[in-house]
Symmetry: C2
Amino acid sequence: MQNSKALFSPIREKRTFERVSAKIKRLILDGVLKPGDHLPSEIELARQFDVSRQTLREALRILELTGFITVQKGGSGGPLIQDTLMNSISNLYLDAFQMEKITIEELTVVRCDIEKSMLNHVIDKSVEADFAALEANLIEASRKIEDNQPAIHENIEFHNLLAKASKNSVYPVVVGSIAAATRDLLTRLIDETLSEKGFSEYDENMVNTKVAVVSHKAILAAIRKRDKKTAVQLLEQHLHEVGNRLKKLAK
Amino acid sequence: MQNSKALFSPIREKRTFERVSAKIKRLILDGVLKPGDHLPSEIELARQFDVSRQTLREALRILELTGFITVQKGGSGGPLIQDTLMNSISNLYLDAFQMEKITIEELTVVRCDIEKSMLNHVIDKSVEADFAALEANLIEASRKIEDNQPAIHENIEFHNLLAKASKNSVYPVVVGSIAAATRDLLTRLIDETLSEKGFSEYDENMVNTKVAVVSHKAILAAIRKRDKKTAVQLLEQHLHEVGNRLKKLAK
DNA sequence: TCACATTTGTCCGTATGTATC
DNA sequence: AGATACATACGGACAAATGTG
């Protein structure tokens, strides 16, 4: 199926906007155009490629969604080369998860599996700077709790920081996507049930937030000691707690 | 960051084509529009959303690139809803690879980690029907090899079937996308080296295909025996071979 | 086989809102 | 505050491709 296309291929003449976007993309990949550079305006680009504005705009949409450029309007605005490609992958994962109608249980299981594997790399590869970042995250989370605010964002960020500490650029994408999908699914469920249960849930959320931070602290301590067995065990326990909490919220 | 946007938000009014594409996307995600369905024509859609055709086309470009739809010209053509986003994710991985945001090694490591975890679920949850599907895949692959054709598609499909056998719908998405990325990477690298070095490489590729099928057979046998240790070990070895082959082709 | 209707692909001109200087 | 530069959006038009009768 695919290989027949790969072997003979060019049967289908590509559309103009595809050729334009491919051309610009190649300039970026070859390093001729670098992140931070401004592209000429739409009008100027259309003129140089000798295509209409509409065609050029469709090419820009492709580059924008793929994560190669962003577009700013207004004076001295225009297409700006930027590298948000890894974010684009995460967004697509989010769509793909939503498309498969997956459950929170399934997400939790896979998340637990993957983060456990990742943690092994973290313990092998992490350096002092990673510890510092994780430490700062925990301090910020504690501060928020002192102020009686749920540190939801910080708690998610902790896992993203772990992913970065694995020194493997694929892990942040995969782990981040699953975390985002979990959060997305959860907020949707909460929106549905909030009108019924009201704010009685609020205190419970604060308790859960605190528990999570305590777990995170213990995990970081184990990582610092390069104690794989304990770290993995703590992480597994932590993620199962999170999973159970989510399940309770879901119904 | 995110929560500030969630709390106050609407500062930046989204562009029209973004709202249109989001609307259609939601209809697909909610199951109102299903894979295989035809969307109305551009003109009709533009009329219903009360936007210009240019705006609508930009929305369609987004949906097309994201993998939600394909577009066909001509009579009884139009936007057609698709059922998988795998190829889109795979394409982004390829871009990330070309941008040197990720390496072959990193992708291989993560794939290996994830598929190993997945395999544990497969051994716990797989039933006779899964074995039959895997068996059929191996037979088809062998047949192609008999015909002196590389069974690249079948070899990737083996991993997708494994993912399905885990009975967790998250795994097919994650594993499928990474497997598709390695497949595309592989075919591209083969195409490149083939044009340079000629047909001497062809035989080597056939050998590698055969080796992969042999590995798959061994893995399936271990799964049938519910022998986790052997199965995981074989899978790890197999995926490392694939990774090494990619690395060799890359340089 | 051939003509026809449908639909995408592409172009042009124009108007409007918005950010920058 | 005003002028400029830019993306955004609209409408109309024709060409090219493709399935159908």
